[in-house]
């Protein structure tokens, strides 16, 4: 398809795609790929803090668990968080943006002011607050991240919807007496898709980073979850001797976030209705 052909020419986009796909595959098949899958939860104190070797390519952590296996298993957690948070944010944010952009008067005013309020709240602060209220857990971390991310979608969709609202084809649809729902979801939404998709892709990387931060602070994943941020948190105290413990999860986070960013940038150029061809 023309879309893939065009995308294939964008080297950095392809690199991003490769990284993301690799992560997805690893996440999907993690129990089978990890050399020591049970190390998700089992501990082997006798083998703690061993240097990278043939048996343990990335070394072992403070409880003797294989760092590589926990890294692979952590991929699943990372992607799940990313997908759920971004999906949740889109489900809340996109319709709000459409409604605000399409209508006039006090409805958009209210929606956008509420959006502003949520935008003003830093993600981590809200997460910490929720952790206080509801107890620290991965679920609460995801809730906090969703609640702080949806406004980004609303803002973009609002701007696009406002712009498309006065475009000629929407006016033509009004001439045909098309209803608001039809115009919003069947016409404005597809045309507003490009920035949404880009934001969603970059958002996934961003979410992984934030989840890792929360894990690091102990407000997200709890031991013994093989989550990357949590691993770094646990590994802090063993630096710099057991460098492998903190470094590899860090590299993993970096690579995946980077991959999503490259992919998002690559998609920006590609999502263009002019590439749709009749078959």
């Amino acid at each position: 398809m023309l879309v893939l052909k065009k995308f294939a020419r964008d080297t950095s986009g392809m690199v991003g795609l490769a990284i993301v796909l690799l992560t997805a595959v690893v996440a999907l098949l993690s129990p089978h790929l990890a050399p020591h899958p049970l190390d998700a939860y089992e501990s082997h104190p006798a083998e703690r803090l061993q240097e990278p070797s043939r048996a343990f390519p990335l070394g072992t952590d403070n409880l003797g668990r294989d760092v590589l296996s926990r890294l692979i298993l952590g991929a699943r957690a990372a992607l799940t968080i990313a997908v759920l948070v971004v999906a949740g944010a889109m489900v809340i944010g996109v319709p709000l943006g459409l409604v605000a952009g399409y209508h006039h008067g006090w409805v958009p005013e209210i929606i956008m002011r509420v959006t502003d309020v949520f935008l003003a709240v830093p993600q981590l602060i809200l997460a910490l607050a929720l952790a206080q209220l509801l107890g620290p857990s991965l679920k609460n971390a995801m809730l906090a991240l969703t609640l702080t991310y949806w406004p980004f979608f609303t803002r973009i969709v609002f701007a696009e919807a406002r712009r498309l609202r006065v475009s000629v084809f929407v006016e033509a649809l009004e001439g045909l007496n098309a209803g608001g729902l039809r115009v919003m979801f069947l016409h404005i939404l597809p045309n507003a898709a490009p920035p949404i998709i880009v934001r969603a892709t970059i958002g996934m990387g961003f979410t992984i980073l934030s989840a890792a931060a929360l894990g690091f602070l102990g407000m997200g994943a709890t031991p013994p979850d093989p989550e990357w941020g949590l691993a770094i948190s646990e590994a802090r105290q063993y630096l710099p001797e057991a460098w492998w413990f903190a470094t590899f999860p860090g590299i993993a986070i970096f690579l995946v976030v980077f991959g999503f960013n490259l992919l998002g940038d690559g998609l920006r150029d590609v999502v263009d209705p002019r590439l749709r061809r009749s078959r």
Binding site: L173, N177, P273
Partner: protein, 336 residues
């Protein structure tokens, strides 16, 4: 062209801007349509001519119903269809359809042609799938396109083809009145000729009535039965096309006709009397809005707004001095 009036517009006014937003200042209101009265006869092509800012597009949109009028009445077949919110208005006036100036922009780029055409029927609630398909195929053929074009996307078609597609979309709804907003804009001359020919054919085939909005006087002369000249939201002259072009009565009409490009070489451009520029829409001159550019303006023109007076049957002018100015032949003899 019959004498039966199917659409009547009475002292229509549309004000744009001026709405107050919650936390912002309102833009100053502009009377885009400032008292227009028209009677559209069945099967005729009535031209609405004017320059930018004269309100012809707003008039079109108000008559269509997507722009709500500020005052005045609109009667379709004798029934009053004004004073309605946009969606009700469109429903009451569904016999009226609109052709946008920019055909390419009037179609959703993500939808195939076929789907866009079908949507028009779905919204109106037309029959089962098969019925819709057949109507679409019939209309595409009527506008000279292959039904196979349904699978294509707007960006794959040429300007002329897009124009025909938008015509088809209007026709599938079986309208009686079509408002054409600059239907030839952006088209090459050769394509323009074909499109205009098509528009004429369709009038006969489907018994349509057209409101032909344009700034191109040559096209208007060729296509329209009657012409209304608009300036600053008002009609300043209304006449049969031939009368208007051969003996224009209003000074603005004369100015337009003289300024319009004609296919005659060696015109003396300096002999044409064009003064100044249209005043700002937020600072409309008192009395006759054209007086700031009119070679015949007198004191009276600033004091009182000239009303549309009948000259002879079917011909109206809004000028205090039309009798004294007299009519002169302006346009060259070109059409045999």
């Amino acid at each position: 062209m019959s004498d039966r009036v199917i659409l009547e517009v009475d002292r229509l006014e549309t004000q744009l801007g001026g709405e107050r937003h919650l936390l912002g200042r309102a833009r100053p209101p502009v009377r885009a349509v400032a008292g227009v009265s028209l009677a559209l006869r069945e099967n005729e092509i009535l031209g609405i001519v004017g320059e930018s800012g004269c309100g012809k597009s707003t008039l079109g949109r108000t008559i269509l119903g997507i722009q709500r009028e500020t005052s005045g009445t609109i009667r379709l077949d004798g029934r009053t269809v004004s004073s309605l919110a946009p969606r009700e208005a469109r429903h009451a006036r569904r016999d009226i359809q609109y052709l946008h100036q920019d055909a390419a922009a009037a179609l959703d780029p993500w939808w195939s042609i076929g789907r866009s055409l079908e949507e028009a029927l779905v919204i109106t609630g037309v029959g089962p799938r098969a019925e819709r398909e057949s109507r679409i195929d019939r209309m595409l053929t009527a506008v000279g396109l292959e039904p196979a074009l349904k699978r294509r996307y707007p960006h794959e078609l040429s300007g002329g083809q897009l124009r025909r597609v938008t015509l088809a979309r209007v026709l599938v709804l079986a309208p009686r009145i079509v408002i054409l907003d600059e239907p030839t804009s952006g088209l090459d001359l050769s394509v323009q000729a074909t499109v205009l020919g098509l528009i004429r054919e369709l009038r006969t085939e489907f018994r349509l009535t057209y409101l032909f909005i344009s700034h191109d006087l040559s096209v208007v002369r060729q296509m329209c039965d009657r012409v209304a000249i608009m300036y600053f939201g008002r009609i300043v002259e209304l006449a049969d096309t031939r009368c208007l072009f051969e003996a224009p009565a209003h000074p603005y009409t004369r100015m337009l006709l003289e300024a319009a490009p004609r296919l005659v070489a060696g015109q003396d451009l300096d002999a044409i009397a064009i003064h100044g520029e249209p005043p700002s829409p937020t600072a409309v001159p008192s009395g006759c809005a054209f007086r700031t550019r009119c070679s015949f303006a007198v004191v009276r023109c600033a004091e009182a707004l000239p009303a549309l007076e009948p000259v002879i049957a079917g011909r109206e002018v809004a000028c205090h001095r039309w009798r004294e100015i007299g009519a002169t032949v302006v346009a060259p003899p070109s059409l045999a």
